[in-house]
Structures are given as C-alpha cells and as structure tokens.
C-alpha cells in the first residue's frame, strides 16, 4: 500500500476499536435485519455458481408492464406470499388491469365469467371465476352475489 506520510503506530484507543471491529466482522448484519419480516419467503443467501444469474432483479422487473406479462397464478402467488412489498402492490395492479376484483371479506380475487345477471346499486350477481388460495387454484361459482361494500376499489397509483 501507499502511505506517503509513513505508517503511524495505532494509539491505544484505535487498537481497541480495531479489535472490536474485527470481532464484529463475525457478527455481520444480515440483509434481512433491516427489512420487514418475510413470513413465507425469508432471505436465505447462498453462494451460487458464477454461470447462474446473480442479480435477483432483471432490469425493469419492478414495473406494472413486467407484472402484466406474468402468469395469473404467479400474480396470485406474489399477492399472498409477499405481503406488504412493492411486488404485492404491482401484482394487485396487474390483476386489476386484467379485470380481477378483490373481495375484502373472502380475501379472494374474482373475475366475471359472463355479464352479471343482476346489477344494482348494492351488488351484482352472476357466474364468477375466483382464485381459492387454500386449494391454490381457480374455481367457478354460479349465482354468486358480489356485494359492492366488499369491493376493494381504491385507486392504486
């Protein structure tokens, strides 16, 4: 190394600091320490072979356009398993763009299978496709009443 002024012996306090820093090196912060708790997908860093993609995010993968290219099932996965993240927000946005509507009581996404048989101020009724997060698949429901008070209709901006 280059030390134009020559090395200066470390003072006692600096020796102590160095010793403590060196000890702290064995208790380094983990990426998850400064993130909200990920209940389902905790971070689990692992050394990957160099020929695998190292970057977790491919460019522009944090846009609605990218999320719209994902399969519906992927969007449901992101929605239920990545709570409170930007990804969840983008997944919800992409689902809405694909005419899925969130039911706040059942906590499930519904999509009209046909024009509703009844539409009034309070509800609409007809056949719907919905995503059952417990059975993890799409189901059809005939004669379902979607009460508008359970419709999540906030503008996602």
């Amino acid at each position: 190394g280059v030390a134009p002024l020559g090395p200066a012996p470390l003072q006692r306090e600096h020796q102590f600091q160095l010793q403590m820093l060196e000890a702290a090196y064995y208790h380094l912060p983990h990426p998850s320490d400064s993130e909200k708790l990920r209940a389902y997908l905790p971070r689990n860093p692992y050394p990957l072979p160099h020929y695998y993609p190292q970057q977790t995010l491919i460019p522009h993968s944090d846009t609605v356009e990218f999320f719209q290219r994902l399969a519906t099932e992927s969007l449901f996965f992101v929605f239920y398993y990545m709570e409170g993240t930007k990804a969840q927000y983008l997944a919800a946005k992409a689902l809405k763009k694909q005419s899925w509507r969130f039911h706040t009581k059942y906590m499930m996404w519904f999509q009209r299978h046909e024009e509703p048989k009844v539409i009034n101020e309070e509800f609409e009724q007809g056949t719907y496709i919905y995503f059952d997060y417990e059975k993890w698949g799409q189901r059809k429901k005939e004669g379902f009443t979607f009460e508008y008070k359970y419709l999540e209709d906030r503008d996602l901006n």
Binding site: M20, L21, A24, S32, D33, K36
Partner: protein, 543 residues
C-alpha cells in the same frame, strides 16, 4: 449533560437511566408479563384486523399495572423491555447450532418487531393529538435508553457483542415513524434529528462493535432519502454530513497505514459504496461539504477523496478537459465561488496568528511573518505527524479566497499574471520553499483539494499550482507538484475536472518545459507512465 438543552437532553438522560438498576420490586416481573402479552397481541389475527383496538386494550393493561403512572416507571419499563429483547436475541444466537440461521432471526424479529411497534404506537399516541413536544420527547427518551443499553452491553460483552437487536430496533422504528401519516409527518424533522443525534452518539469510534450495523443504518435508502431528498430546504444535510465525518474519522487511523485487515477492508468498501451512491444521486451535497470531508480523510486515500472532489452540480455541463485549445478563462462558471459550508476563517487558530495573517495580507509586511509561518504549522518532530493538517488546509483556502477577493477589488480577474506578486502569493511561495518534504506534500494537497468543477476556487488554485511550478527555485518542488497531481490521476476514475485541466496544462504548455525535467526520466517505468498519461490526454508530446 444537564447543560444540554433541547432534544439531546432527553437522549442523554435516557442513556444515563439505562444504567439504573434500583427498580421497584416486582417491576421486572410486570414488564416481562406485559411485554409477553404485547408480543402475543401484536401477532394475533385480531390485532391485524383492528390494530387500534388491540393497542388500547394493551394500554389499559399497562395502566392497570401502574406502568403509566410516572415518567420514571415508563422509562424503567422501556429499559427493562429493551434488555429483555436483547437477552432473547443473545440466547437465540447462542443457539445457532441447533437451529437454522433463518429461524434464529425470525425468532428474534418476532419479539423485536412487536416491541418496536409498541414504541411507535406509544410515541404516536402520547399527549394530545396536537402535542408534538410530548411525542418527540418520548421518542428521544426511548432512543436514549436503547443507546444506553447498547453502550453498556458493548462494555460488558466486548468482542462477544451482538449488533442485531439494536440494528433491528433502530431501523424498523425509523421505518415505522416515516410512514405517511399526518401525525408523523408534522414531527418528521424532529424524528430525523432524534435518530441523527442517536447515531452520532453511537458513532463507530464510540461503539466499534456496532460499526457495520451503524453503516447500514446511515446508508439505508430510506434514511438517505429522508435526510437528503425529502426534507425541504436541505435541512437534513448538515446532520447527515456530521455522520459521514464520524465515519471518515473512524476510518482515518486504519486507512492512513494502508494495511487493511479484512474487516477494515470490508468497512472501507461499504464506505466507498455510500460515497458512490451520494456522488450519483446527491452530488451537490458532496460539493457543499467537500472541505469538511477532505479535512478528515487521510492524505493517502486518493480514490475516496476523488469521489468527493469529482462531485459537481447537476445543472452544470463540464467542458471535456481533453478539448484542444480549451480556454478555461472564457468559462462563465469560473467567476462564481463554490459554496463552502465551513467557517474557514474561524479554523485559523490561535486568534493572534489569524490577526498576524490578516495584517500581512493587508500590508505585505513584516517579512518576519513569512519566516515564522512554518513554526505555526509544525506541531511535532515525529515523522509523518509533523504538521497541523487542518490548519494547513484552512490557511490555504483562506489565503486563496482572500486573494480572489483582492484581485476582484481591483476589477481584475484571477489569471497567471494577476495572482503574482502579492502578499497572498508570498505566503504560498514561502510555504513551497520553506517547508520540508512532508509539509510541502500537505501544502500541495491542500491546494489540489480545491481543483474541482469549474468555479473561482478551481481556477485560482489551478493557476497558483502552475505558477508555483513555473517559479520554483528547485526541481524538488516541481517534482512534488507533479507527484501530487499524478498520484490523483493514476487511480481509477472518477477524476476531478480541475485536476485534469491543471495536469494537461502542465504537460501541454511549453512554458513549463515539463518534459525537460529530470524526474520525468528518472526511471523507465515513470517515463512510460508519463508517456501513457500524455497519450491519454491526447496531446502531442512537446519536443
């Protein structure tokens, strides 16, 4: 500590109270019970459905147990809770072997996050809705308590110290208190102030085993965003600059020796990354505080300093330094002084020296001032530690700015002619001649630290350095000027604009007879180096 007014007094009293152990009987058990209750409530499904109700139920419980009766009891409750959270983490981390790292952390976060939410809710709901002082005081108190527990833990555990619980508490609390809610938005600046004070108290030189977590906190994107971008009128800049100065001061003694152990190298790498982010996103911030930063960065940390000196205001277009026949004198920007947010004049101490300096600048007499100058700067005889670097830096910049003002007062512009034959140049020439190698190196570095984007300081000091080269009475001075410029250019990018301009002028303009000097040809590798630099500067080698 008592004398300290304002928010820091609450932090300091919290730190002091973290060392009290004469708790009333039964308080420990009560706290343990309540904390466990709260952790359960926090994670229960009903709490996520109706958080307000869950909180009011819990506050009622705290009331029943008499915790909220006095400030003293609340303080003790927070201290005991913090210690319990910390103990839990130590136990979980000690258990690493029988569990996976992910599970260990999940377990820690389970309790820590609940505790943090409790702090955030108590801060938000303390006092009346409009009583901001109560909320801010409570926050400062709690931060002080956590900091106090940390410092004590640090003293007790030493090399076994674990940063995790404190890191988690600070960052999650910071994020919670920066969510978009009206009640939090009105106190946002006080929240930032509270965290900055706390981080300053916990700076790496005070709590070195916390250093990595500290750096993560200071460089967290939300923290940087709040401090430098979102808070209006750059009100957070000064506080953030202080934290960076804390960081550089800590690193200085280790970097100076250029022998980096792995832990220091990692910490240094993190520091460079923070600087790169700042250079890219907040160059004006680095511009404004470049002086204070360079003052604490050791002279041999070339790249770190280049990162700071390369910053320039985003609205500015820098002319390509390699443009043939670039006329720096014609640039509009060189008439404008850069912002320097340090009071340079006040750094020139003692006051009697400052008075003599001003007298000399005015009267260009007595000559004894020049011969005594070295004595003011030299502080010891120990090699490598001979000079007061801060005084050298202040002196150089002060004399330079005075010179610019003096030239302007004669309705002239600084250039190679107007800067000569003045009290100011007497001082610079005297320093160049009279100082030993070490002193001259520091002196020339102080000048080179002003070679940045196009502004009046860059232009003045560029002319000054070239003038000192041209007028040097010995090759040693010229060699050293070349050395200082060259060593800042042979490192990886970025390179400050003014530095390139000055060096290109030196090797290009025949008046300096650069290529005739012996030190250019002293060794084949040096000669090759100069040739490659010359080639990269795209100029014809003057024969």
């Amino acid at each position: 500590d008592r004398a300290m007014g304002g928010p820091t007094s609450h932090i300091h009293s919290g730190i002091v109270q973290a060392r009290e152990f004469d708790d009333p009987q039964g308080l420990l058990e009560k706290t343990e019970y309540l904390l466990r209750e709260w952790v359960n409530i926090f994670h229960s499904p009903s709490a996520s459905r109706d958080p307000t109700k869950a909180f009011s139920v819990f506050v009622h419980q705290m009331n029943v147990h008499g915790i909220l009766k006095t400030d003293d009891l609340i303080t003790r409750f927070f201290r005991l809770s913090t210690q319990m959270c910390v103990d839990l983490c130590y136990r979980a981390l000690a258990d690493q072997n029988s569990s996976t790292p992910v599970l260990v952390r999940t377990k820690c976060f389970h309790t820590l996050d609940a505790f943090v939410r409790l702090i955030a809710l108590l801060v938000k709901h303390s006092g009346d809705a409009s009583n901001n002082a109560t909320k801010v005081n409570l926050l400062n108190k709690v931060l002080g308590i956590v900091a106090g527990v940390l410092l004590q833990d640090h003293e007790v555990h030493l090399t076994e110290f674990q940063q995790l619980p404190y890191h988690r508490i600070f960052i999650i609390l910071f994020l919670e208190l920066n969510t978009p809610e009206p009640v939090l938005e009105v106190i946002n600046f006080q929240v930032l102030t509270a965290f900055c004070h706390t981080l300053h108290i916990l700076r790496p030189s005070h709590a070195p085993a916390f250093a990595y977590a500290w750096l993560e906190l200071v460089s967290h994107r939300v923290f940087i965003g709040r401090m430098l971008a979102i808070t209006p009128q750059q009100k957070g800049w000064g506080m953030y600059a202080q934290l960076l100065i804390d960081l550089f001061k800590f690193l200085a003694p280790f970097l100076r020796n250029a022998e980096l152990s792995k832990p220091v190298a990692l910490f240094y790498k993190g520091t460079l990354r923070v600087l790169l982010v700042l250079l890219h996103d907040f160059p004006e911030f680095l511009c404004d505080y470049h002086y204070s930063f360079c003052d604490v960065i050791p002279p041999n940390c070339i790249q770190m300093r280049n990162l700071i000196l390369s910053a320039f205001p985003r609205n500015m277009r820098l002319p390509d330094p390699f443009t043939p026949n670039l006329k720096v004198d014609m640039l509009q920007e060189i008439n404008h002084a850069p912002r320097v947010l340090s009071n340079i004049a006040s750094l020139i101490q003692p006051a009697s020296f400052k008075k003599d300096l001003d007298n000399y600048l005015k009267a260009r007499a007595p000559v004894t001032f020049l011969s005594e100058l070295r004595g003011h700067l030299q502080v010891s005889h120990e090699p490598g530690l001979r000079y007061n670097i801060k005084l050298m830096n202040a002196l150089v910049l002060y004399v330079g700015t005075q010179a610019i003002a003096h030239i302007r007062s004669k309705t002239l512009q600084p250039n190679m002619t107007t800067i000569a034959h003045s009290a100011h140049m007497d001082i610079f020439q005297n320093l160049a001649v009279d100082l030993d190698t070490e002193g001259r190196y520091l002196f020339l570095n102080a000048i080179a630290n002003q070679l940045r984007y196009p502004n009046s300081h860059t232009h003045y000091f560029s002319c000054t350095l070239l003038y000192l080269f041209a007028e040097a009475n010995s090759e040693a001075i010229q060699e050293q000027i070349t050395r200082v410029l060259l060593e800042r250019l042979i490192v990886n990018r970025p390179h400050p604009w003014g530095l390139l301009i000055t060096f290109i002028e030196l090797i290009k303009n025949p008046i300096y007879k650069f290529w005739n000097h012996e030190f250019v040809h002293c060794a084949p590798e040096i000669e090759k180096l100069f040739e490659s630099v010359a080639r990269s500067c795209m100029v014809q080698k003057a024969q």
